[in-house]
Symmetry: C2
Subunit: 317 residues, 2 copies
């Protein structure tokens, strides 16, 4: 019994059930996910990332409410840092999303990070397909801006928003520096704080330098001050996100962006298939290979190559 018709009809319960089965790795979800990919492609996918403490979760909640006021349906896929053992996502969505609770035009899903044998990135982007296919006009991907997979996910969007906040510690500032370049739109949150003027000026200077070297000739990356708790700047952020999508459309940049996203997804999907094949291989064979590694008779790379070749000979799927 396929879950897909309910998903395509935008039924909340069908969507939630497909996402749960997919996350559990259920075989019957596989076909539905491929069909969801085929049906998707209309949503504006927006990645929102920022360092811990940047206030991006509060901002996302306010942005959702604002997008709703324009009449569009909006979904959020939030990648939560979670235990590699329990696989449980951290709660909190329901609380901060209180403003839009019960609104069938809003759907929020937290993804757990799945540990070494499951792919965070691939699974998150498949969830985006499902919500896109279900007719949500805007799908927000919220990730913490630390970690290779997490940043990759935020970049697999049509529009990437990077949230900064003034007055964070040195460690955080160092991490922040690593994600500034991926922004189509910059937000400086907590702009009611006195240090925020400096943060805004720093970002604008950085962008002026970029512009001087003409790396982004067509779209001028804006730096937007926001105070989520006072609802200041949220409307301007929503407008900037919409304008970026229009600019992509107008300049023919959307196709290039879609190709870039496809390339990322191809790699991430390949990694997932690989992990599955490795874990499906006979335990005896794996045990023997691990023993070779432990006794240093083979390097991890040589062992992985041997296993890949055996798996390829062993058949398809």
């Amino acid at each position: 019994m396929s879950l897909l018709p309910g998903v395509l009809a935008g039924e909340t319960r069908a969507i939630a059930r497909l996402l749960t089965r997919a996350e559990a790795g259920a075989a019957e979800a596989r076909e539905a996910l491929d069909a969801a990919y085929a049906a998707a492609g209309r949503a504006h996918v927006v990645g929102i990332t920022g360092v811990p403490g940047s206030g991006k979760s509060t901002l996302v909640a306010k942005l959702v409410a604002d997008i709703r006021r324009t009449g569009r349906r909006v979904a959020v896929v939030a990648v939560d840092p979670s235990s590699p053992y329990s696989g449980g996502a951290i709660l909190g969505d329901r609380i901060r999303m209180a403003e839009v609770a019960g609104d069938p035009g809003v759907f929020v899903r937290s993804m757990a990070t799945r540990g070494a044998l499951g792919g965070l990135a691939h699974g998150t982007l498949e969830a985006v397909d499902v919500l896109d296919a279900a007719g949500f006009e805007v799908v927000l991907i919220e990730t913490v801006g630390v970690g290779q997979d997490e940043v990759d996910v935020a970049r697999a969007a049509h529009t990437t928003v990077v949230v900064s906040a003034p007055g964070l510690g040195d460690d955080i500032q160092a991490i922040k520096a690593g994600i500034l370049e991926i922004a189509d739109v910059h937000v400086v949150s907590k702009c009611d704080r006195p240090e925020s003027d400096r943060a805004i000026a720093d970002l604008r200077n950085m962008l002026a330098l970029d512009l001087a070297t003409s790396r982004r000739p067509l779209w001028r990356v804006p730096v937007l001050p926001v105070a989520s708790l006072r609802d200041e700047g949220i409307g301007a952020l929503r407008e900037a996100i919409d304008r970026h999508r229009e600019a992509l459309d107008a300049e023919g940049g959307l196709l290039a962006r879609r190709r870039e996203i496809a390339r990322r997804r191809l790699v991430k999907a390949g990694e997932d298939i690989l992990r599955e094949r490795f874990s499906r291989e006979g335990e005896e064979r794996i045990a023997a290979l691990l023993q070779d590694l432990v006794e240093r008779r083979a390097s991890p790379r040589a062992a992985a190559r041997a296993l890949l070749d055996e798996l390829a000979e062993g058949g398809t799927r």
Copy 2:
């Protein structure tokens, strides 16, 4: 001309050169890395992870100096958050390591996170092999405790230390919760702050619950207060790390740990090989597949599977 003899002799310049070539993906580094893996296996590999702002970098610098006072040679591989475009690591090592600057018994290396087409985890663990083969008795892997790859790397160690700090924001606390379970040793840094007693008590309560369900019957995970800037608690941390290694040896746990590390490395090496094969595939074939994805005639998973099978047929290596 192989770099390996110099590496095995512990020559700083040869080590640095091999690591640089390996990070650049140079073909001649490949063989040396496999040989380094074969020669490694004696070092005590210690993963040190903590959320941003936990003060783990300062702690690592102090710990290095302390381990040196026991006469052992010690190396650090630090995974720095860095730009996905520039690939440049953030500076700072040389400054905070001033205490041990010029000491040939200390080696510090920052790894850049390498973006979508390079594996952070695999590369970092190969750097550990090189330092192990070069005769460093202790190799510390320092990573930020956010991000799937980053946490995986910290777990690919004989002893994993998780650094917490009192009084961080809610976002950070949520992330922290995700890494507590991987600790063999807990550190609460900045213990000169008044809120640290609470942080220590919370961790001890959590561990008492774990113990009640007897998940870790043999090794009792300690919770150690440290004030790095005052040099308080550093010696006790070093002793706990050494005791954990002794406990692993005594209980026969080391072999299980080595197998677990080998399993992680097998998967990570496989991912790296896959990325290389994908990027080596002819551009025309990839362009056609990407076009299929963009037009949604195939799902990322179906396309990745097809590509994997073609590559396997196309030959080995």
